[in-house]
Amino acid sequence: MGATSHDTYIHRESVVHRWSPRLKLVSLAVLMFAFATVRQLTLVPWMLGVAAGLYLLSELPLSFLRQRLSYPGLFILSLVVLLPLTVGDTVLGQWGWLTLRQEGLMATLLIVGRFLSILTLGFILLGTTPFLSLLRAMRSLGLPTILADMTLLSYRYLFEIAAMLATMQQAMRLRGFGHKRQGWLRVNRQTMQQLAMLAGNLLIRSYEQSDRVYRAMRLRGYGYGAKSVEGQSAVTQPCILSWGLTGIVLAAAIGLVIAEGILRQ
């Protein structure tokens, strides 16, 4: 859970940072879906270009994207390895039992292209918008109060609970947990029992903490018909720059969908 210990927001003064969170959320979501519609390999460079252009505009460091791309890559990696070797009839090259096939290779390039561009957009959104602004934008777009409050509270305690688990796991290791060797493909009942109790303790501690949090919230007026904290904050009016960026991004999204339709015919 080490990755949960830092926020994804990176402070900069770029135009993407100044883009109204509500318009940014809607525009980037539309563009992500437009990217997901792409089936033609010729559109992949365009898609990557749009994503790279927006990333440059956001002034986020490249290391931010590199760190985050490495984690979800595992599933994609298995497709990258398997598809070119297994799918299709047109053989591009053969080395012993390994056969490189054209159709599989093309499908892989398409999937990886979409993956990289959509994920880049996701990280632009998260890297340039503080979590609370993002939640406020969702709330103003109609996110139900229960969901907004739950998201806010869960996020507030996420890091604390992660730290609690880390401490508990360290205490277990210091008492000798995990030092015993186990046979291959065998699940040790005692180990399972100890891990179940670890998770159970984590739940009980969180539950007890939730009781204290609820009492404190009630004392401050929560649940007496008052609006959610998120709902009270005024949403700033978007400026010309925000509308301009929204227009450009939506035009790019519509352009991609039209191009996809034409190329498919």
């Binding site: 985050r68 998201t151 305690y157």
Partner: protein, 214 residues
């Protein structure tokens, strides 16, 4: 067991959001029927965070280790709050560690959340169907079924989505073999998840029984 961005078509992603929207609406409707829905929010929120954190616990199965999903357990403990909790948990995973995806959030939430609701109903049937068994065996058996069902159904939905959406120049025979092999491969995982859920629920029953009342 998350589907990342870029694999599914826009139509499937949109359909995922539609199903998730419907399931969230249904869950919130059930929650709002309670006498004081806000009283449950802190409990559900902190447990959402705890589940998100607890799912990072690995069970060592040498030479590798098994990552827990815990969606069945979430259903068992949180009831109708399980669906919003999974939606929020997956949103955090996409947000904080880039696991899953924003376009596939709807699909992933439906894939994990609907089995969690089924697990909740399965666990609740212990009051009616499980009368033949004595406590604590009754709680243990139904918690096992809830945990195994939660992961089992999620795995089946995952496999169906992947196989239907991966470019299908594979021949039907190879596809059937792959589905069968992957389905059989998930059976031990469902059993591990079920046993873990049963152990944890039995522990909670002894230490904090009010957590299982939801």
């Amino acid at each position: 067991m998350h589907i990342p961005d870029g694999i599914l078509s826009a139509q499937v992603c949109a359909a995922g959001y539609a199903v998730t929207g419907l399931a969230t609406w249904y869950s919130l409707r059930q929650i709002n029927r309670r006498p004081d829905p806000t009283a449950e929010i802190p409990k559900a929120s902190l447990l959402t965070a705890a589940f998100f954190v607890a799912s990072s616990i690995y069970i060592p199965v040498p030479p590798a280790s098994v990552h827990l999903i815990l969606n069945g357990l979430l259903g068992v403990v949180l009831g109708y709050f399980a669906f919003p909790a999974i939606l929020i948990g997956l949103f955090f995973q996409a947000l904080v560690i880039g696991h899953g995806g924003l376009t596939t959030l709807g699909v992933n939430a439906a894939m994990m959340g609907i089995p969690a609701l089924l697990a909740y109903h399965m666990f609740q049937t212990r009051h009616t169907v499980g009368q033949l068994l004595k406590e604590p065996a009754r709680t243990g058996v139904f918690a096992f079924l809830g945990g195994a069902l939660g992961l089992g159904i999620a795995a089946l939905i995952f496999l169906a989505l992947i196989i239907l959406n991966i470019p299908a120049q594979l021949d039907a025979g190879a596809e059937q073999t792959a589905v069968l092999a992957l389905s059989i491969g998930h059976v031990p995982l469902a059993i591990i998840e079920g046993v873990f859920t049963a152990m944890l629920v039995l522990f909670l029953r002894r230490a904090k029984p009010e957590l299982l009342e939801g």
